[in-house]
Symmetry: C2
Subunit: 344 residues, 2 copies
DNA sequence: CTGAAAGCGCTAACAT
DNA sequence: ATGTTAGCGCTTTCAG
């Protein structure tokens, strides 16, 4: 580490500086900079020229305080390392494009306490809306959201009680749907592999849905295996090895996400398992990453981008037409059987 | 979509509300809420109880305007779908922990114009610092950063002229380092596979470095292949097929990132190529995802997390000790030969 | 179309 | 340890 060059820390420019530079009142300068129509073209040009040449950047803090309007949307997700959430965020970005609203992201690491802290921090900037992953929050977080007086959209999950609006899929139903597909294909001895994350409620609900689906046919899970941390692909491999050594009679492995599923798939291919005839596999999410694997892993698309776009639309819509009231959107995920569930 | 429940939009609470609720002056309430020491325990309790029961959330907009202090750090990256940037962000989050500073993320989609727009937007909130990926910016963006009067850290890349501080690796050197390793292992007919992204300067510099390294030994690239969009793993597969069909004599493939490298590796394994004896492969980034593949792809670690942490430390350090002046940190990436470069 | 006055909700600086 | 005053930089409102 070496020092190389000093930075000067001068006072940021204000409207007044621009006003003095072009001889127009602060008020009119403000009008020009907010693109308001009621300014003569001549004045407008003069002001813009001055602002540009000075390098003026408006102070939104002052603007927001005066106008009581903040064009920010707080977006709170559990993780960025999951590949799932970045796609949701990109959907939100796209949905907010040209609305004048700007997303601001916060990450909770699947901790309810951190979620509460991040939410508090973000609400203190008085955003125009909040988009949060999941329906499970601390009581304090719920209270803050309910009394914030702004639209709140809970995303990804529809199994639970909403605060305001919801856009997501039913993970429980996705689990059941997979159970149906597995049983319909004739598999009977089913193993479940997932993350050891008490606060990943969606993964839990998928597993519960799977169980419900199996139990409806008088079956249960033959075996389970959980992990935490590390490279998901590698963990998928290791868990698969472990579960199959413990229970060589299993004929289907359901992975709680595509990444560990891909690891399991690679392992099974290497070991020469007869897929899908002798052993079936499935994951969850519908990551396009699966397209490049030796076989297409069966999966259920989580509609990540669409969820982001719809959530953004709800927040944006509110501002526009003054619509008030929760909206409930449940998307229907598609099961993609790929090459790892046998067809009958 | 169905309407289900109305939301009430009431006025947010102010300090005055809390003040009236507990019979303590606004000023003292403010002191309590900012955890200042000069308040009696009794008053403190009274105020906290009132604030909690009302559900008061401070208005940071007003606070920031009054104190001229904003505890936000603007972080601008080209993409979130890359897996590389989420790790940097997580390093930044970690590095900012317990500093009182909060990261705020913006995404540019590798567009200089979008970068400029996002930067303008973020600077208008007067953050305490800026962390940006890369050294290439529009002239307007450079001007804004130079005159913002706040610490600026450009990350990931050290090959170019800095505005203020820099934390990164030399991608050109990484390319050269890989060239040396390839040549030392005895490979001679080298193909390059990368993205068709004029604005991904780091990928470009890696390729240039590779070329320099090869040319220093009187060699060049035998063949190149570029792609854009789609599933990187699948593209890696397809590009590898294409380049090897065109030039079956190639004995080494250098991929500009690990994801397409992994796709290429899977393809080559399936095709029965003799790796690494007959054909060598290498990627870039050091993603831990590689751990789960059938063979370990050679790669160079991009020090993503460490870069994030160091950048955060620089921003945080400035505030504390009033340090002024750019810091230059060049990390030395480690080459991990894995199983896909032959050892001599 | 342009300007002047008032004030957004909070905190710095100064009392007490 | 607590209260009072002034003002952060902008926009709203109202006058011209």
């Amino acid at each position: 580490m070496t020092q190389h060059r000093p930075t000067d820390l001068r006072r940021p420019l204000t409207l007044r500086d621009v006003s003095e530079a072009c001889g127009v009142s602060e008020m009119t300068v403000s009008r020009v900079l907010r693109n308001r129509a009621d300014v003569s073209p001549a004045t407008r040009e003069k002001v813009l020229a001055a602002a540009r040449s000075l390098g003026y950047v408006p102070n939104k803090i002052a603007g927001a305080l005066a106008s009581q309007q903040v064009n920010l949307v707080a977006v709170i997700v559990p993780s960025l390392s999951n590949l799932v959430f970045p796609e949701v965020l990109s959907g939100i970005s796209a949905g907010l494009e040209d609305t004048g609203l700007q997303p601001v992201f916060g990450v909770t690491n699947y901790s309810p306490e951190r979620e509460e802290a991040v939410l508090y921090e973000m609400l203190s900037w008085r955003p125009s809306g909040v988009i949060m992953a999941g329906l499970e929050h601390t009581p304090a977080a719920r209270a803050m959201l309910e009394s914030a007086g702004i639209p709140v959209v809970e995303i990804m999950d529809t199994d639970g009680e909403a605060i305001d609006s919801v856009v997501g899929i039913s993970h429980r139903a996705a689990g059941r749907q997979m159970a149906e597909a597995i049983l319909a294909a004739g598999y009977r001895r089913i193993g479940f592999l997932g993350t050891k994350m008490p606060d990943d409620h969606r993964a839990r609900k998928r597993m519960e849905g799977l169980l419900e689906g199996l139990e409806a046919h008088g079956l249960g899970l033959a075996e389970t295996e959980f992990y935490q941390g590390g490279s998901a692909l590698l963990k998928g491999r290791e868990m698969t090895k472990a579960i199959l050594e413990r229970r060589p009679d299993l004929d289907f492995l359901y992975f709680s996400n595509d990444m560990i599923g891909a690891g399991g798939l690679l392992y099974c291919i290497e070991q020469g398992f007869d897929i899908p005839a002798g052993l079936g596999l499935a994951g969850f999410n519908g990551l396009d990453f699966l397209d490049g694997l030796p076989m297409r892993l069966a999966t259920i698309d989580a509609c990540r981008r669409e969820i982001g776009e719809k959530a953004a639309a709800i927040i944006a819509g509110r501002g526009a037409d003054g619509l008030v009231g929760g909206v409930f959107v449940e998307l229907t995920p598609r099961l993609e059987p790929g090459d790892t569930i046998r067809r009958r």
